[in-house]
């Protein structure tokens, strides 16, 4: 029967040799304690900055500052401008206006094309304005048979009274109301 021998002392001897040599090397140099305090401070700060929790907190802080700044400058959410809808943006587009064109190949009566409604209103208002400001004259009279001096005088009068400019202002008001 084999006698049992504990193998651990062999391992301990190896560890002892390693320690002996390492200690000799350690003792051969002067032992300084002070320096690591400063180095550790810098390192821990670096670790703190790279820490995910720190970065998340920093991002949250930035977001909060951004929101506070926005509220401070704009007053509240309700005063912020509303983005224009698709209809408003494409109101002047003819193709968008006829998107309700039926399969029958004809416009239905209830179709309202945004561009048409605006320009109809503009045109109507403009004509009314011209009629109201202009002196009555015979529409049936052909221009070529009219008095050239009289035509010139009417054009000059329209320019002097800024009729065109007033018409444009009128158009703009109507357009704003439409929007």
């Amino acid at each position: 029967m084999e006698k049992y021998t504990d193998p651990w002392p062999g391992i301990r001897r190896l560890i002892g040799r390693e320690k002996e040599k390492a200690l000799a090397e350690f003792r051969s140099r002067e032992f300084k304690v002070a320096a690591p305090a400063i180095r550790r401070g810098n390192r821990s700060f670096g670790i703190l900055v790279r820490h995910p929790a720190f970065m998340a907190a920093a991002a949250s802080l930035l977001l909060a500052i951004g929101l506070a700044l926005f509220l401070f400058l704009r007053g509240s959410w309700h005063t912020s401008p509303v983005a224009p809808g698709l209809d408003d943006l494409l109101a002047g587009s003819f193709l968008y206006g006829i998107h309700n064109y039926g399969e029958t190949g004809a416009y239905t009566n209830d179709i309202t094309i945004p561009a048409a409604s605006i320009f109809t209103a503009l045109a109507t208002a403009g004509l009314e304005r011209v009629i109201a400001t202009a002196e009555p004259f015979d529409h049936t009279t052909p221009v070529e048979h009219g008095d050239p001096d009289e035509v010139r005088e009417r054009i000059g009068k329209a320019i002097r009274e800024n009729t065109l400019e007033q018409l444009l202002i009128e158009f703009r008001d109507i357009h704003d109301k439409e929007v």
């Binding site: 391992i11 301990r12 040799r17 390693e18 002070a34 690591p36 305090a37």
Partner: protein, 189 residues
């Protein structure tokens, strides 16, 4: 040399030279465990350069806080600081990437040329075996074999019972032996 280290530390860390005699005694006592702390660090990190740095870090921490801590057992206290410092270092290394190979200077130059290569090889296997242990078993084994602490001192440093120390130590030794025999395919010298 020890007095010089204390004086240098006091200058750098702005410790009041007129501190109490008890503090000075405690510092002196802590510095007496310098070799033990170094060996403990060596057991955790496996090379002289890192073990030296960690020993310095450990003493810097201990001497900076000994005024507030006033430990009952200075040896257990500084060993606990050393162990925590080493574990921090190991964790940082793992986060950075794989472990660096042990420098040649730590393993060579044995007393007799004929056994240097064989001993070097065996020590590397033991080192690998210890590194492969679970953390709790490794703590106890390194404190016992490298730090040369008693069961009670290990229990005090790790804040566990002596029975737990013994059972963990036994399991750690069995694991190291198993690893060694598998790697070495032979008997221990």
């Amino acid at each position: 040399m020890m007095q010089e280290a204390i004086l240098r530390l006091e200058e750098t860390m702005s410790i009041d030279p007129a501190s109490t005699r008890e503090m000075d005694d405690l510092r002196q006592e802590l510095l007496r465990y310098r070799d033990k702390v170094f060996c403990l660090c060596l057991g955790f990190v496996g090379n002289v350069a890192d073990a030296r740095d960690l020993t310095q870090d450990t003493f810097a921490k201990a001497l900076a806080h000994c005024r507030d801590a006033s430990p009952e057992s200075p040896q257990a206290w500084i060993m606990r600081i050393a162990r925590n410092t080493c574990l921090d270092q190991v964790r940082r290394r793992k986060a950075r990437g794989p472990l660096q190979p042990v420098p040649e200077s730590t393993a060579g130059e044995w007393q007799t040329p004929e056994d240097s290569a064989a001993v070097e090889d065996e020590i590397r296997i033991v080192r690998k075996a210890i590194a492969s242990l679970p953390r709790r078993q490794r703590d106890v084994l390194v404190m016992r074999e490298y730090g040369e602490l008693s069961y009670q001192e290990i229990a005090g440093a790790l804040r566990i019972s002596s029975g737990t120390v013994m059972s963990r130590l036994n399991r750690a030794r069995q694991a190291v032996l198993r690893f060694y025999q598998e790697e070495h395919h032979g008997k221990i010298h």
